[in-house]
């Protein structure tokens, strides 16, 4: 495994690809590789791209990557997550269809990923894969996910900058307010801006932004926003705060992409100048540590618990003899034997 790590650090793309597999599968080899690679991480700008299916995330990621490649010498890694079928465990990962004009550029690496449906595991595997790309020296890691609730929030928490993509005609203004997903946006994108209904979508998003009180938002690991005191308390101005801009794009022809790329750059500068970058890093690593502790404890506990004992308790829950909470207590106290 050390060989693969060395090869990766030397820029070998096959080694990178194989390590991503190990890390995604959570193998022992993958884990030791992460241990070696971790010291090389912390340099990449992690950009999350999320939004409902069909709003054009893949096309947008494609255009952004093209733009960054054309106008800077930054290297780009893309992680594109698509859902796993809950029934068969299989998946069709089709994001590459929209990213074909990135082929042949050695400064771009695209990896498709199936969500694999393990609770919390998606964010964990994604975070591990991001670390591999970060260690491999990619300047920007774009993480594209399907908009489907909590998983988005988890993955947004990984990113320094989160783009929430909407499109005209995707829902009325109540959708915009109720969906917690908009609150994770650092930049709001209205894609397909040539479609009718643009004004309504824009009005709804703008209205939502105006209703929100601008505060400095940092994720905490239990999913709430911490309202951070600004660096110097007395200057209670909002000039220091980031108000999510609304960017209009047409991903199929590239309209609005330079402005969006510029917004992403400005957000990175803002994070650095305001000190939010390190706060976000801290909360990100805290989340990861928590998740690992949870996983490890769960696995330890389950490995000591005989399968029959678990099944017996499950049957008692089914028969309404025990509530799920009582069942947990029974198992934890070892009274199941």
């Amino acid at each position: 495994m050390t060989n693969l790590v060395e090869a990766l650090l030397a820029g070998d793309r096959l080694a990178l690809s194989r390590l991503l597999t190990q890390v995604e599968n959570g193998t022992q080899d993958g884990r030791s590789a992460l241990n070696e690679l971790f010291q090389h991480t912390g340099n990449a700008h992690l950009v999350g791209v999320t939004g409902a299916p069909g709003v054009g995330k893949s096309s947008l990621v494609n255009q952004l990557a093209l733009h960054f490649r054309k106008h800077s010498n930054k290297t780009i890694a893309i992680i594109a997550v698509d859902p796993t079928s809950p029934f068969t465990g299989g998946a069709v990962l089709g994001d590459r269809v929209r990213m074909r004009n990135l082929a042949g550029d050695a400064g771009v690496f695209i990896r498709s990923m199936a969500s694999r449906g393990t609770l919390g595991g998606l964010a964990h595997a994604t975070s591990a894969m991001v670390q591999v790309f970060d260690a491999a020296g990619f300047d920007i890691v774009l993480i594209e996910t399907v908009g489907a609730g909590q998983a988005e929030v988890d993955i947004a928490r990984l990113a320094h900058t989160t783009l929430v993509v909407d499109a005209p005609g995707m829902g009325d203004d109540i959708q915009a307010i109720k969906a917690g997903i908009l609150e994770i946006a650092d930049i709001l994108v209205i894609n397909k801006a040539d479609r009718p209904g643009l004004e309504n979508t824009e009005r709804a998003l703008r209205g939502m932004l105006e209703m929100a009180h601008p505060v400095k938002r940092i994720f905490q690991h239990h999913g709430k926003f911490e309202i951070a005191e600004s660096a110097s308390d007395e200057q209670d101005n909002t000039a220091q705060l980031w108000i999510p801009p609304i960017q209009k794009t047409i991903a199929t022809d590239g309209t609005g992409i330079p402005e969006l790329a510029e917004s992403i750059g400005r957000h990175a500068s803002y994070l650095e100048s305001s000190g939010d970058w390190s706060l976000r890093e801290r909360s990100r690593l805290e989340t990861e540590l928590d998740a690992l502790i949870q996983d490890t404890l769960t696995n330890q506990f389950r490995s000591k618990l005989p399968e029959e004992a678990y099944d017996r308790v499950l049957v008692r829950i089914l028969e309404r003899e025990l509530s799920p909470w009582e069942a947990v207590e029974t198992l934890m106290n070892g009274r199941h034997t």
Partner: protein, 136 residues
């Protein structure tokens, strides 16, 4: 640890625009629990080999109905080998004349499937080929 997932790239090299077959196979592989990376139409051999490398797949399924298989298939095998991915199994579907089959197999194509092949056969053979020699 998650169980080992079989990852398959399904690609359509060349210029014909008929992707129904590729989509049916992609769907069947998904329903068999595999992770299918679908690349879409009109891929060059270079694009396919690059995608196979980035996705670290166990197998590549090519759908060719244009008659260009004797040019495209060896080129893709050559690129996979050059990238150090000689362990990747390559399967071919589409309109492949019987007389070309022996030569394609000699080149290193693992399985060839014409019209009327049942998707169960394809699934079973891909799984067998990939699991015999687990990808490094």
């Amino acid at each position: 640890m998650t169980e080992k997932k079989i990852r398959v790239l399904v690609a359509k090299p060349g210029l014909d625009g008929h992707d129904r077959g590729a989509k049916v196979v992609a769907r069947a592989l998904r329903d068999a629990g595999m992770e299918v990376i679908y690349t879409g139409l009109r891929q060059t051999p270079e694009m396919i080999a690059e995608a196979a490398l980035q996705e670290d797949v166990d197998a590549v399924g090519l759908s060719i109905l244009s008659g260009a298989h004797m040019a495209l298939a060896p080129r893709i095998l050559e690129l996979l080998n050059a990238n150090g991915q000689s362990n990747v199994k390559v399967f071919l579907g589409g309109i492949i004349p019987d007389e070309d089959v022996p030569q394609l197999k000699t080149m290193g194509i693992t399985g060839i499937y014409g019209p009327g092949t049942s998707t169960e056969d394809i699934v079973r053979e891909i799984r067998a080929a990939v699991l015999v020699e687990p990808a490094a």
